[in-house]
Symmetry: D5
Subunit: 147 residues, 10 copies
Amino acid sequence: MNRNDVTEKIISTKVAKGLQWSAIASKLGRSKEWTTALCLGQMSASVEQARCLGEIFGLTDEEQKWLQIVPHKGTLQTPVPTDPLIYRWYEIVNVYGSTIKELIHEEFGDGIMSAIDLSMAITREADPKGDRVKVVLSGKFLPYKQY
Amino acid sequence: MNRNDVTEKIISTKVAKGLQWSAIASKLGRSKEWTTALCLGQMSASVEQARCLGEIFGLTDEEQKWLQIVPHKGTLQTPVPTDPLIYRWYEIVNVYGSTIKELIHEEFGDGIMSAIDLSMAITREADPKGDRVKVVLSGKFLPYKQY
Amino acid sequence: MNRNDVTEKIISTKVAKGLQWSAIASKLGRSKEWTTALCLGQMSASVEQARCLGEIFGLTDEEQKWLQIVPHKGTLQTPVPTDPLIYRWYEIVNVYGSTIKELIHEEFGDGIMSAIDLSMAITREADPKGDRVKVVLSGKFLPYKQY
Amino acid sequence: MNRNDVTEKIISTKVAKGLQWSAIASKLGRSKEWTTALCLGQMSASVEQARCLGEIFGLTDEEQKWLQIVPHKGTLQTPVPTDPLIYRWYEIVNVYGSTIKELIHEEFGDGIMSAIDLSMAITREADPKGDRVKVVLSGKFLPYKQY
Amino acid sequence: MNRNDVTEKIISTKVAKGLQWSAIASKLGRSKEWTTALCLGQMSASVEQARCLGEIFGLTDEEQKWLQIVPHKGTLQTPVPTDPLIYRWYEIVNVYGSTIKELIHEEFGDGIMSAIDLSMAITREADPKGDRVKVVLSGKFLPYKQY
Amino acid sequence: MNRNDVTEKIISTKVAKGLQWSAIASKLGRSKEWTTALCLGQMSASVEQARCLGEIFGLTDEEQKWLQIVPHKGTLQTPVPTDPLIYRWYEIVNVYGSTIKELIHEEFGDGIMSAIDLSMAITREADPKGDRVKVVLSGKFLPYKQY
Amino acid sequence: MNRNDVTEKIISTKVAKGLQWSAIASKLGRSKEWTTALCLGQMSASVEQARCLGEIFGLTDEEQKWLQIVPHKGTLQTPVPTDPLIYRWYEIVNVYGSTIKELIHEEFGDGIMSAIDLSMAITREADPKGDRVKVVLSGKFLPYKQY
Amino acid sequence: MNRNDVTEKIISTKVAKGLQWSAIASKLGRSKEWTTALCLGQMSASVEQARCLGEIFGLTDEEQKWLQIVPHKGTLQTPVPTDPLIYRWYEIVNVYGSTIKELIHEEFGDGIMSAIDLSMAITREADPKGDRVKVVLSGKFLPYKQY
Amino acid sequence: MNRNDVTEKIISTKVAKGLQWSAIASKLGRSKEWTTALCLGQMSASVEQARCLGEIFGLTDEEQKWLQIVPHKGTLQTPVPTDPLIYRWYEIVNVYGSTIKELIHEEFGDGIMSAIDLSMAITREADPKGDRVKVVLSGKFLPYKQY
Amino acid sequence: MNRNDVTEKIISTKVAKGLQWSAIASKLGRSKEWTTALCLGQMSASVEQARCLGEIFGLTDEEQKWLQIVPHKGTLQTPVPTDPLIYRWYEIVNVYGSTIKELIHEEFGDGIMSAIDLSMAITREADPKGDRVKVVLSGKFLPYKQY
């Protein structure tokens, strides 16, 4: 058994039971973004969180233990993603990558926006010309230091 | 001459004169995100915008014409970016890609978040534990339709 | 179980029963192009459509649920396709890619032809020198906007 | 000197003079699709066509000779294109590739749609919800034969 | 079940029974080149041919049906083949590729040598300094046409 | 100066003077296939051959010396060729690769068809349904030996 | 002019003058590791540091300005490095990568060792069986947090 | 059975039993770094070490024999690692690669730091601003010699 | 069943029984280099050799038949090998590749050193500073000929 | 100026003057293998050796200094080499890679054959059936040690 087996069981149980990520997140008491990432094998759970998910998805003790192990992360199956929804994000990085770099450096100096100390929120933005997806990313700025 | 020559001239002039993207954007009357993307060869300008940038960067008539041509877009030099700041964005897509896909589909159904009808805003978020980079993305949801 | 299992069952049932995509599409009341893409795991079905396909291919309730889930899309097994028929389409993009870009920009300005709000029709074009394949693509033009 | 030098001269002259592909095609007496592909280094010209383009773009005799040479074809700079407009076409091949294959084989049997004996027409399709790009491709069906 | 399962059954049956491709081709009444390509999953069979191969290899009705389906073609497992015999052919394309292009264009003009309307014959050429492999390829010339 | 400079000079001189590979081969007293490969930087010349080509293309003494150096060989610019004519040859290797391997082993046993001790002849094959390109390859069979 | 031009000037001046990185670092008042990374185009300098390096390497005002710009980082020319010394480090990541991951997670939990808030020290370790290279890396642990 | 099967059994047993690498290393009498690498299929064990691990993980005699076989090494699943923790190490090689090369050559001359005669120690470094990961690498310097 | 299944059985049997390649080679009456390559699926056996290996490894008749089939050759799992021992050979080709090319051409003229008509011998070379691996390669020179 | 410029000057001077690597090696008092690798930018020279080569190739003082700098090594232009002579060496690693690994481990245990403490000798081996290239490689065995 490995973490991937647990992830696949979670996903197929979710489809069979017709569950919603937002409802699962409510039960867990965490954001729907972090909760989904956890269920998809990208984050690690506490004992209590693993137990909570265990009840929702019918996971054995061993499967719950795997949820507490830090997983091997990464969900892209190829360097350039093929799914159109995910590709659009790759395209944003491609088209705006140098712009993002310039503007963060202009504001903060040499360093990066953390992808670890990061939170994300995805919401619907009503718009008469067609609703929009609003994504807010908040990542700590980490400066390069001289030594 | 091609668009890339103009981009390089803009960048080297910016360094030589010590200009700021946000100040350039103010003169252009557009957001600093769109303005920077334009200057870095990812967007196309109107005649007036090209003239405005022409004054800032000392561009010839022919160089201004190139700013009005739709460029061949994309700033990544390799499928996986090597610069640490830009890579963190690739990593966000890699770690959170399947999460973003699940949550947008849960909220909107089958479709994508547009990377064309998209705006982006990058700001500083003050934080006692270290300031944060806040990025807000707003992209129109485009549904797959049956036919 | 996952969507891929359902796709494989559909394909092998189609061969075993000797079915035709156009006949399946008629039963579903949709174009043969969209119907085939759905059956090959690229589109998502409504409850009724899943039930209709379930009868044609003998799918269980759980398999029908998978047809309603938005799939991870993409059918190319390598960045450059190897099958000669599919490769010819890649070659069209390769040889005519810059032409398509130039002409759409000349007519519409900066933006793209949508691959989401898109329909496709494939028909036989009789020709004394050998019949031809006629493909009509209709995709909404999406402009880049300034902000 | 090589064909690429001539292509670059044509493109930069077009920008400097503010020419349109459709107008150039009219002077040449060919479709705008084929004419653009020729100017972008993907097709080869007759002596008369080379002379006609030579007048439009101010090409020397040697440059006109290069237009008559069969070029090394292909416009993609990477296996997966990065420009958003061209990528959408790659995505169509990716998402619909297996569908196109199935439907052509269902109608014609084993073989391919030619990318050589092919014509293409790109037009505007007025639509109250936003104009559309209509592309019609016509390629001869070439059957695999037994021997 | 899929076409690949049938191909693997054919290959392992051939080894177990010690059959020869040329003998199989005689029974089928086709060349050994086309017959081998069919058995290796690159061509499609008629009902009668599938039945004939069914008898030779002990294929079920469903397996015979798969032989009549147009397969997803391509036998290289990597873009550059690793097997020494197959690599030599890749090397011929690599070393002589530009030569082949120049000479076909010199003789025929702009166009290609078809890989679909193609036949191949592989024979032994006796030679006192060591026998040689003689391969004759005959492919229809397909011209690019203007439109 | 390097071999590539000489190759480019030969090619651009050929276009400027309107020469034919077959005529050049006649002057050299070699086949058009080997001669073209030599001129394109894939073979090496004797002193006399270099002098002969030197007269045809107006090469200096140093340029003639480079023709006598064994070049770094290979003409493909990417692992999978993009030019349609050359790609068709890659496709032949892809579709027929396993067939070629099987049939050469059936006739000769374990070993390869040499890509070094190889000759090639490209000719026109008249055909009422459209002329064909006939290519004859003759390569020495080299057996793997046990030791 | 760009940052790469300045880097190349620094390197060629260093060779021509026979300078040592450790001596340059002493003048700059920083570690030899950070100083070398700065000179090789991976870090950014303050005005004073740029002036100091300007004196050592004879840099113009504009060249000194480029040293203060945050560079596009990354020194590997291919995903897998070819230089034997640098490859050994890639091999360490390859062979010990999963070990490093396991042990950091065992000690610290889910998170990463920062490559930004990082210092490095390279020293000689005398050893009778052959001196050794000792490298000490110190990177801040950054935990993934739940939200 | 192969080495990979044994590695997977070790990992899943470790999770199921809740073992620690450092405790396993103590029982084996080796460093936690080398022990973990051994358990993850990168090093080879003596008979006694295999027996010791066999008791900890419940391995059969045949599984213990596989621990004594030199494994096929390498833990990266893609040339550029996707897991954020491991990627940071790749980034260190990318950003500091040329610096490491310069400084080792400056101190030792032409040669490499061995990745074979190498030891590694990973420890926690307490720090009021957040604890740090300290990694000490010690690799023998191997000079290129002339011959 | 395929050749790979037989190779895996040979390898796992060798580990389970604790056999040596050199002893197996003695029984077969061939060099240990060729014998190991045969057992690892790179060479093909005669009937007698297959029977001899059949007795050593307990192979069935059908498994012995697979040893007589020419295998699909190649043992590298990625274009650049990851195992340190095998990588060192890749590095030799990388660092010394142009040297080997120059010196063979200087001695023999245009052509190659055969990788088919090749023998290899690997032996221990005692050395007070540490024993060495001595590898002797003997490959027939094959000249390119003009035609 | 960089090392590559010096390498190119050496190569073009060698062609223009018609020099031989073996003669150059004699003047330098080193093997032809090491000398060629040095001249091709893979090894570094002492002051005296640089002076000696400086006389042979007419190098300036600065160019001689570059010969004393440790170069960025590696001569392959693509991961899989395209030149037939160099490819044959890649093929040897591909076909015999696992064999070499098995036999060195059988003789020496876990470790590698050094590519740094390595010498190589290339000679002609007279043979009535065609002369052979004999290559002797001698590399120190480096054991993995436990810690």
